[in-house]
């Protein structure tokens, strides 16, 4: 299809003002929060499922890629159009369609911002559990596509554990509802397959999520350590004692300092590491659990344990944690965040190796991570404008992921594969594993329109 014809057809569908095609717009939809960069052919801002269906039908006929986008906070290049195509930006589809309290569900359009939903339902004494650090800006469509995690996923599970169903547009523009308010129906779990598929199988236009009552009591503690090993060992020890807190987060000194400079939450600047430990649930027995945790921390030479005394203090501790990525840009302009995940007990070993890699490549690496579920986020700091440094960064990142894979972990816990980690897929998957994924892909995407160049590497030449 000629460009002019494509633009005209798209304008007929979504209206002229919702089709963006200037050089500026194409440059601005070529990035996300990762270091990857691409360029779409055109951007559309649909207002309804019908718009999306028509756009997809057109793309299918013309064999043009379609890439969904929410707030573009992806950390692995998932929203970067590497092979051109139509970027579908959901900023106008941001309505909360239904809050069904008796059935404990909400139905939203994909452009709804995660925290906006949370704030809306908190007023009704309910909550949506997944809380990605970017919840203030990330959209639920993006959370769906990436299977986002967050600190509270230690206890409550990740996005996929909270998605009940979705209205999706298939490759030919057909609209179907998957799942729904009746939980646990006999069917292939297509919803489960689509969550985290990074827009490579279909595109969601409505999402139904599970909401749960807010806990009766919450206790948030900040444990301060003079040694990062002690902090790491505390994490395993708490779980080994039979306690699964709501969160178990860790930050090292480098990150702590940057965060404290930015938000002034009262983090100790000289500590080697801190843990943010949160308990929630029924009030009964919580005091005793907190006491047990304190004891475990002491056994691991904690310097001090502080208890958040008010909601405001708790909010401050979390604001610091959730802004950690952004805050490190105070130290160097760019960062690359690795997302390797390992069995929890391997954390101290892997951390030691990360420190060695920092030395080997002469790069500052900060560590902030979901310690409770073994999800590391080493932040490699650098200046993207220095190409030589950038090359070292990529090498260091790959090496970190190799270490995670070697100890029985995986290359991405919550940020996705995107384009960034395609080459590392072979660290954990065999060619037959990937072949099976390609079979799935072929069932959903016979002509290859969905977010091409993501998740599954191209078949190796020898097997082609």
């Amino acid at each position: 299809m000629e460009r002019g014809e494509l633009l005209t057809s798209l304008k007929d569908i979504v209206g002229e003002e919702n089709v963006l095609s200037s050089e500026m717009d194409l440059a601005l939809y070529g990035y996300d929060a990762s270091l990857e960069r691409g360029k779409p052919d055109v951007v559309v801002l649909p207002g309804s499922t019908e718009d999306v269906s028509k756009v997809v039908k057109l793309a299918y006929r013309a064999k043009i890629p379609v890439i969904g986008r929410g707030s573009g906070t992806n950390l692995s290049g998932g929203t970067v159009p590497v092979k051109g195509g139509i970027v579908v930006h959901f900023s106008h589809m941001n309505r909360i369609i239904e809050i069904d309290i008796p059935n404990r569900t909400v139905t939203v359009e994909p452009g709804v911002i995660t925290l906006d939903l949370q704030n809306t339902i908190l007023k009704k004494g309910l909550q949506y559990a997944p809380d990605p650090a970017s919840q203030k800006v990330s959209t639920l469509g993006g959370n769906f596509g990436e299977n986002s995690g967050g600190p509270h996923c230690l206890k409550y599970g990740v996005t996929t554990n909270h998605v009940l169903g979705a209205e999706v547009v298939l490759f030919d523009g057909t609209v179907v509802w998957l799942g729904g308010k009746s939980p646990d129906q006999a069917s292939y779990d297509i919803t489960g397959l689509l969550v985290g598929s990074e827009g490579t199988l279909a595109i969601a236009t409505k999402i139904m999520l599970k909401i749960i009552p807010t806990p009766e009591a919450v206790k948030t503690m900040l444990a301060i350590y003079d040694s990062i090993e002690d902090a790491g060992n505390t994490v395993s020890a708490i779980i080994a004692e039979g306690i699964v807190p709501a969160t178990l987060e860790m930050m090292d000194n480098l990150v702590l300092k940057a965060v404290e400079d930015s938000v002034h939450a009262g983090y100790p600047m000289d500590a080697a590491a801190v843990l943010i430990i949160e308990l929630d649930g029924m009030a009964d027995g919580m005091e005793r659990q907190a006491g047990k945790i304190l004891e475990i921390c002491k056994r691991h030479r904690v310097r001090d344990v502080r208890l958040a005394k008010s909601d405001a203090e708790r909010a401050e501790l979390w604001a610091g944690r959730k802004g950690a990525f952004g805050a490190v840009a105070r130290l160097r302009p760019s960062y690359l965040v690795c997302d390797g995940t390992v069995p929890r007990t391997k954390l101290p070993e892997v951390l030691g190796k990360v420190i060695q890699i920092a030395k080997k490549y002469d790069l500052p690496i900060g560590n902030v991570f979901h310690a409770g579920d073994g999800n590391l986020h080493p932040l490699i700091l650098f200046d993207e404008r220095n190409k030589e440094e950038l090359a070292r960064v990529h090498k260091a990142a790959t090496e970190i992921l190799q270490i995670c894979a070697d100890v029985g972990g995986t290359i991405s816990g919550e940020h996705g594969i995107g384009t960034e980690k395609l080459k590392e897929m072979s660290f954990i998957f065999s060619e037959s594993d990937m072949h099976f994924m390609r079979d799935i892909k072929s069932a959903f995407d016979p002509v290859g329109i969905w977010n091409p160049g993501k998740v599954i590497p191209q078949r190796q030449a020898a097997n082609a």
Partner: protein
Amino acid sequence: MGKIERLTGDLASAIGRERVKTDSDITDRHAVGGLAPSVVAFPKDIKQVKEIVNLAVRDGVSIVPWGSGTKQCMGDLPSRVELVISTEKMNHMLDVDVANLTITVESGVKFRDIQARLATQEDRCYLPLDELGKETDDIICSERTRSGCFLPLDPPFGDKATIGGIIAANSSGPRKLLYGLPRDMVLGVRFVTPKGEIVGAGGKTVKNVSGYDVSKLMIGSFGTLGIICEMTLRLLPLPERMETMILGFASLSEAARFADALLRTKLIPAAVEIMNAGAVDAVCAKAGISAKGATCNVAVAMEGFDEAVGRMKKEMAAMGERFGATARAELDEGGHNPFWLSFGNLRVMDKEKSNDILSVRLSYPISEWEKIYAICDETLASEGLKHTMVCHAGSGVTAIDIMPDGKDRHDLLIQIIASLREGCEAKGGQLTVECAPSQARKSITTFGRPGAVSVIMERLKKAIDPSGIMNPGRFFSLTQQ
């Protein structure tokens, strides 16, 4: 030499003669809906499964995967039953990593053996170990980690089912209210595809977004997309205290008011079950509990910290009085464990009472449970059909066993299923027939309307199993060849 003879010979040389059986007592034991396979293979590991599947692909022979057979009555009848692959010999626990709260097992491992392996120093366990020890003729896992963990699932047939079967059938029980479904527990799987390849997905970590979430696709696919051979599951620390309270009410509406009020408190019960009198009596009798069922009963499982369970008991007792409970039984851990194991075996007990048992499972939006319960109760009572009925209030599932009294009433049963299905679908739900007398089976649709999603399911099945050999026709009659 026929196709099957050749296959049998090749299987024997591939995996060992002793692992390939054609004896009729064995093939008959592995019949599905009256169709006995020609061959049953007992591979020892995933590699052997791969070899078997490759031979089956070569010969175009259909495959039925088999665990302990507890759920073979579920699903549509397969269109062909030629080769059964039994996971019986694949019963190894590959990695019991209690420090990381994960366990990796082969699919033939029995559910009860996993729980036994995880028991505490004092043999506290999520199942009644003593009782199982008395009852079963095969050996319960005697090796203990002394870890005090458990696998947070409570599917039916907890004493017999294999973990592979539980996962393949997406089987769950009352305590999913607190812990979730199999999809929330499975971290990774390794399986053999219908093309004969070994494929792994997921891993040992709770968070994992590397590649597609293939594990989700395999859960509840009834063996139509491959044979699950190994899986990694999420564990939790065993609750400090586990108890049950059963409250009897004179009517459904009183029981419902109690249950709904309970679900609106900040209390966190593990299960809230609505049970009719027949269900309570059967379960209690089996578990050796003296309680007697009222017209409508609410059984609540409480699992958690000592103080939390204590408070739940206290508040629920008071609530029970407020809402007019006529009876209350309290079970400590010694009663709690047998009660819920026996609860999962309700169908086994009901089967003993009637050869023609008809079991259905209804799932629907959770707020509709009382209406669904009432529709079912009225419909069955008006026909005077003996039945047990249990409803997971708060999880949107009701399971009914209808026990016809021996007279030929298939027409009536078919009519009743149709009417219940209509009632359930009107509320946005789904009715699945899980067990039916073979004559009635032919006239009853197992799953009801598959809906728009069947387009995708069909496309997936074709892409993954192009020759249609894996449990053909079993699930929504997909790829019936």
